[in-house]
């Protein structure tokens, strides 16, 4: 059964240090849980790449083209000549296109965020409520008791106030 070792730290530096130690000791990728975003995670745990920007970019492009197509297409579908202007009147349709760019960009960003942050959580994941208040948690999955005691040792050496063992529910 897979369980998790979680060490709770008082300050972000120790937590980061512990995570680095765990990683170099050959554990699987540790996770840091914190009440505030902490800086320097990428130096310790390796660079993070986010796909969100691609979502935003392509969402925006889709919105721009879709917005113009919506305005021009619907104008052609039912002809209503107004104000002596052409049916496909470019300047106002560009405004629609602009607004739709932003709308689709926003929606795509949200989608990208949810996908890349793996939210919402359907299958249970381990969690320690203190990490939402003032503790910085570092967790690693442990396959065996030996692994857990290794992890516990590393965490305590790095200054963990407390090390807990949490069963992985899955």
């Amino acid at each position: 059964m897979v369980s998790h070792a979680i060490g709770l730290f008082h300050d972000p530096e120790s937590a980061l240090h512990a995570a680095g130690q765990l990683k170099s000791a050959g554990f699987a990728q540790p996770e840091i849980m914190s009440p505030v975003p902490i800086h320097g995670v990428e130096e310790v745990l390796g660079p993070k790449k986010s796909v969100i920007k691609r979502f935003t970019f392509f969402g925006g492009i889709f919105g721009a083209l879709g917005g113009f197509a919506l305005a021009a297409g619907t104008a052609v579908m039912y002809l209503h000549p107004t104000g002596g202007r052409p049916i496909i009147t470019i300047p106002p349709f560009l405004i629609i296109s602009y607004e739709m760019t932003i709308l689709c960009g926003i929606l795509a960003t949200v989608l990208g965020f949810l996908i890349s942050a793996r939210l919402p959580v359907f299958r249970e994941r381990i969690y320690v409520p203190e990490t939402a208040v003032d503790k910085f948690g570092v967790t690693v999955p442990c396959d065996s008791d030996e692994q857990f005691s290794d992890a516990e040792r590393i965490l305590e050496q790095a200054g963990a106030e407390e090390v807990r063992r949490l069963g992985d529910p899955s």
Partner: protein, 447 residues
């Protein structure tokens, strides 16, 4: 975050904010009851009467077919402008002082937008057909007219509403998670859903940071475009006094101006009645005061420009419009607006006023009264004096209109009161970010 007595700790922030959600005093219920009562009696009853009777219940007449409803619409849209916009700008520029106030500022955006949309419904002659302004496939094969500035408005406001809602929600996810752990019952389930199972892992923070920044970058141009488009409802016409190129920047500046004043008002109320003295301090009022001063100067500048070009151009219609604005029937309101929006804010030059709470409250309210007058005058003075003198006619709001105006304010207050009990009205994690980081204290377990 500075505090006089003892340094704040991370857990204090959680305590304070969970308390603001869970502990509800009698004062809150009384205020809510009053707000709901006023909303129902002053907004919904007159509105239903108007739906039954027709727009004739309002004071509008033939040349002045737009009235206070549209003025209120612009006012509320304007009020919505500094919340999310300011929050985005300050987020991108990494301003520390934003962090304690942005949540309620964004809520202000959201609710004033909702009220603005309701004002559109009130304004329409046949609001039961409002869905025709939305593009959706239908058996009539008819689509809205995408050439219309009013339709730009529909699209822009929908986008802005969606964007603001997502922006405030996304920034609140970590806070919902923090609150979730401390609540029980229906609140617990609500926050479980709202927090989506947020755990605060490094990956989640990283993604949130990116998404949040992208949203901020998208929303800034959106917010500017929204009020430009609102101004085009007027500026795209050929009515003297409305057909002005300066209108888009004028409206944007005016919107941010009245919105910032609105934030000051809301900050004052939150600070006073939600006991957020720790979070909302003189620094915020000082900074907002400086911003207000800058905006008031910009606003005055644009006003002078408008008058000057009309005077210098001197075409008969423009000139008549100018003369009417400065000396005509509505001129007392005009000078009141100048006094409230251009002269009074000059007091903000003194730091003493900027850092004292009650004068700031009074000034912010005065500015918003002035800004409402501005919106009213844009409609009333221009529409009552157009090209053909035969159809010149004055416009006075009827009791129904005034009542709906009061009721819309009550609606805003109601929504806000509900908000402070559901959303953490000060961002927990961002306030923590402004506090000194916990330092290594090996062996000490007292914290």
């Amino acid at each position: 975050m500075s505090s006089e007595q003892k340094p704040m700790q991370y857990s204090d922030v959680n305590d304070d904010i969970v308390r603001s959600l869970v502990v509800t005093g009698r004062k809150y219920y009384i205020t809510l009851a009053i707000a709901v009562t006023v909303m129902v009696t002053c907004f919904y009853f007159p509105w239903f009467y108007q739906l039954y009777y027709g727009i004739g219940a309002a004071g509008m007449n033939n040349p002045t077919v737009w009235g206070t409803y549209l003025a209120s619409f612009i006012f509320w849209i304007g009020l919505s402008h500094s919340g999310t916009l300011l929050s985005c700008v300050l987020h991108i520029t990494n301003s520390e002082w934003r962090k304690a106030m942005y949540r309620s500022a964004e809520a202000m955006t959201l609710f004033s937008l909702l009220v603005a949309v309701t004002m559109v419904m009130v304004h329409l002659g046949r609001p039961w057909f409002i869905h025709w302004a939305a593009p959706y496939p239908n058996q009539m094969e008819l689509w809205p007219n995408f050439r219309s500035p009013l339709l730009f408005d529909v699209i822009a406001i929908t986008t802005y509403l969606t964007g603001s809602l997502i922006f405030i929600y996304m920034g609140s996810i970590p806070d919902f998670a923090a609150v979730r752990d401390r609540t029980s019952g229906w609140r617990y389930h609500l926050y479980v859903l709202l927090s989506l199972g947020w755990r605060g892992t490094d990956t989640e923070w990283h993604r949130l940071g990116w998404a949040y920044t992208f949203l901020a970058v998208l929303i800034i141009p959106l917010a500017v475009s929204v009020h430009s488009i609102v101004s085009w409802d007027f500026a795209m016409s050929i009515v003297p006094g409305l057909h002005q190129t300066i209108f888009a920047p004028y409206f944007v500046v005016g919107a941010i101006y009245s919105g910032t004043a609105g934030i000051v008002t809301v900050m004052f109320v939150l600070r006073k009645y939600m006991n957020f003295e720790h979070f909302i301090t003189k620094i915020h009022f000082d900074n907002l005061g400086k911003l207000l001063l800058l905006l008031s100067l910009l606003w005055s500048y644009i006003n002078i420009l408008e008058l000057f070009t009309a005077w210098y151009g001197g075409t008969s219609t423009e000139y008549e419009q100018l003369r009417y604005k400065l000396t005509g029937y509505y001129s007392p309101l005009y000078w009141e607006m100048i006094l409230f929006c251009a002269v009074a804010p000059l007091l903000l030059i003194s730091k003493k006023i900027r850092t004292s709470f009650v004068p700031m409250l009074i000034l912010s309210i005065v500015i918003n009264i002035g800004m409402y007058t501005e919106r009213f005058l844009i409609i009333a003075t221009t529409l009552s004096r157009q090209y053909l003198p035969e159809s010149w006619r004055l416009y006075t709001p009827s009791m129904v209109e005034i009542s709906i105006l009061v009721g819309s304010l009550a609606m805003f207050i109601t929504l806000f009161l509900l908000f402070v009990k559901i959303f953490p009205s000060v961002s927990i994690y961002e306030v923590k970010e402004t506090m000194p980081k916990p330092q290594k204290k090996n062996g000490d377990r007292s914290w």
